[in-house]
Symmetry: C2
Subunit: 349 residues, 2 copies
C-alpha cells in the first residue's frame, strides 16, 4: 500500500462529509503573524495616517518612512484581517479601525496594546507545554514583588482607557441618588470606583490596592474631578483590613487571579465589610457552565494558565456557588457592553 | 464635554448600524496565544493521547505528566479553537484533528510545525514595524550561507509530508504514459518530481537545489522507489546551467522568493531548457488580482515581507504577464486540493 493510499484510507475512515483539511491547523500555527501585523501597523501609526488621508501604499510609505513594497504588503494583509478596506490601490479605515486604531480617536487602544504586548502577559506563552507540565508559570526571570507592583501600576496606566465604558456600565447598576460608601478592591486604574463617583455625587469611594498602583488611581480620580470623595486604602487585598459599613464592594477582574478557596475566603471578608442589603459587584470574564463558550471569556483561561499559579475563569454556576458559600444571595449576571465582561451582583441578606 | 460624551460622539459620527466593537482588535492582539496553545498541545502529544482513549482532564494529566487544572484549561481552549470536542467532562478529537494532529495518522503535521516554528520563519515577525521601515528582514544574527543551506535542508525534511498530496495533484497535470524528462527547480524535499516519477514509470527527473538540500530529495527518491530515474543537479537555481531537452519544468514555491525581474529572467532560462510544446508548472500561493483574496495566499505575503528582501505573492495577472514576457503562452490556473496552492501551467510554443 502506498503512502497516498494510507492517507486516503485514513481520510475515508473518518466518515467525513468533506475532505479533511489542514487549513485550521495552519491558520492557527501562524496566528501569531496576525498579532505581529497589527502590532506593526499600530507602531507605525498606519491607521492614523490613513485616517488623515494618506491612502495609497506610496503615500503611506512616505508618511511612515517605509518602502512601497513593505507598506503595500502590510496594508493588504490588514485588509484580509478586516482592519482596512481596499478600493483599487487605495486603502481606507473600517468603522471599527477609525474608532479604536486611529490615535486621534478618544477610544484609541494603543496603551492597551502596550500592556497586552508586555512581558507580564507575553512571557508566559513562550512555552506553554512546560507550563502545563509544571502546573504554574515558568519564567527565566521571575518577577520580584517590586517588579510586580511596577508592572501592575503600568497595567493600571495602560488599561484605564479601555475600561472606561465598561466601568460606566458597571456604575449604572447602583442607585445614582443614594448616599453610599463604596469599596473598590484591587482598584488598579480606579475607573470602576471613579465611574460610580461620577454618576452619583453623594458616593464616597475607598480604593484598595498596592501603593504604587493607587498612585495611578488617585491621579485618575483627580483628572475626573472626584478626588474629594476618594480615599486610599494601601495594601494587599488578601491581607488588608477592609473596614466596615460599605453599601457596595466592586471587584473588577480580581477573582480570576485566585483559586476557589481564596475567593470564598475573600468574599467572606467582603460580606463582613458590607452593611445589610449591601451588594458585591464582580466584573469578570464569565464563561457558560460548559467552559467553552462564549469564545472570549472561555479563551481568557489561557492567560490564567500562562501567567498565574492558581487563577482561572469561573463559570456562572461556580460564581453562584462561591457567593452562596460566602453568605450572599440573589446572584445575578448582567452583560457589560461593549466588552465581553459580565457583572455578577449578589446581596448580603 | 465629558470623555464619555466625546467617545459617544466619535461613535455616532461613524454612522454605524451597530455599536463599534474592539473585539476584533483584541482578538488579533492575542492571536499569538492560539499559536502557543496549539504548539503546546502538539508538544505534549495531547491529541494522540485523546485518540488513544484518555479523554478526561485527569486521565490526560496523568498521561502527559501535567496538572489537572492546566490540562483542563488547555483542552477547553482547544475546544474553543475548534480542535477538540467536549461532552460533559470528556474531550474528543475533531475529524480534522484525528487526521492531522494525532501522531498515529500518516498525515500528522508535527514536522511541518517544526519548520513553521523555526527561527527561519518566526524571527522575521519579532518587529515587523522595523522591517517595514527598512524594507527588508531585520535580524540580530543574519543567516550565513551555510546556515541558510542547513535551514533549507531542515525545511525539506520537515515539509515533505505536508507536500505529499499537493505534489500528487500536481503530477496529475502531466501525461502519465509519455516518456518525459522533467526538471524540478529548487526541488527541496523533492516530492513534486518524485510524484511525477511515481505516476509515470517512463519519467526521468532532474532535481536542482543546493547540495545539502538535494541529500534530502535523494533520500526521498530512494524511499519512494524512483531513485533509478532520479538525477541530481547541485547548484543555485539562478546561477546553474539548467541543460536542455526537458518536456516539463516544475517550480514549486520558488517564484515567491524572487522579485519580478528575477522571475522573468529565470523563466527565460526555463524556456530555453524546454523542448517545443514543453511546459512549465509553477506551484504557488496565487491571490486574486485584488491581492486580498483568498485569505490564505493573500496573507502569505506577510511571510515574504518578514523573511525576504524582494519576495512577494504574485497575482493571476502578474503570473500571466511574467510568463508571457518570458515567451510562454496558454497560461492556465488550476487549484491544487487539499491545499490552498494553485498550479500555474504555461506552454513553450
Amino acid at each position: 500500500m502506498t503512502r497516498a493510499q494510507v492517507i486516503g484510507e485514513t481520510i475515508s475512515n473518518q466518515g467525513l462529509g468533506r475532505q479533511p483539511s489542514p487549513d485550521k491547523v495552519f491558520e492557527t500555527m501562524v496566528a501569531y503573524q496576525r498579532t505581529a501585523a497589527l502590532k506593526a501597523a499600530i507602531d507605525l501609526d498606519l491607521f492614523t495616517s490613513i485616517g488623515e488621508g494618506h491612502t495609497t501604499a506610496s503615500a503611506l510609505a512616505k508618511r511612515v518612512e517605509g518602502t512601497d513594497r513593505a507598506v503595500r504588503m502590510l496594508c493588504d494583509s490588514l485588509v484580509v484581517l478586516g482592519f482596512l478596506t481596499k478600493g483599487g490601490s487605495s486603502y481606507g479605515l473600517t468603522a471599527d479601525s477609525a474608532v479604536f486604531l486611529d490615535k486621534r480617536s478618544p477610544a484609541y487602544v494603543r496603551s492597551a496594546r502596550k500592556f497586552l504586548a508586555s512581558p507580564l502577559v507575553v512571557d508566559g506563552f513562550r512555552d506553554l507545554a512546560t507550563v502545563v507540565r509544571a502546573g504554574r508559570p515558568v519564567s527565566d526571570e521571575p518577577f520580584s514583588e517590586e517588579d510586580k507592583h511596577a508592572a501592575w501600576a503600568e497595567f493600571a496606566r495602560n488599561m484605564a482607557g479601555l475600561s472606561f465604558l465598561v466601568a460606566q456600565e458597571t456604575a449604572r447598576l447602583l442607585d445614582p441618588d443614594a448616599e453610599i460608601k463604596v469599596l473598590d478592591v484591587a482598584a488598579g486604574h480606579g475607573m470602576f470606583g471613579i465611574a460610580i463617583a461620577q454618576q452619583n455625587s453623594r458616593a464616597t469611594i475607598v480604593a484598595l490596592d498596592w501603593p504604587s498602583v493607587l498612585a495611578v488611581a488617585e491621579e485618575n480620580a483627580r483628572r475626573f474631578g472626584v478626588s474629594h470623595r476618594y480615599r486610599l486604602l494601601p495594601g494587599d487585598a488578601l491581607e488588608a483590613d477592609l473596614g466596615i459599613g460599605f453599601d457596595a464592594v466592586v471587584m473588577p477582574n480580581v477573582m480570576h487571579l485566585w483559586d476557589r478557596p481564596t475567593n470564598i475566603r475573600f468574599l467572606k471578608k467582603v460580606h463582613a465589610a458590607l452593611v445589610p442589603k449591601g451588594r458585591v459587584i464582580i466584573g469578570e470574564f464569565v464563561p457558560n457552565d460548559d467552559r467553552v463558550s462564549p469564545a472570549v471569556p472561555a479563551l481568557f483561561a489561557l492567560n490564567m494558565l500562562a501567567n498565574t499559579t492558581a487563577g482561572d475563569v469561573y463559570t456562572v454556576s461556580e460564581y453562584r456557588a462561591m457567593l452562596s458559600e460566602a453568605g450572599f444571595t440573589d446572584s445575578q449576571f448582567r452583560p457589560l457592553p461593549p466588552a465581553v465582561h459580565t457583572a455578577v451582583i449578589a446581596i448580603k441578606p
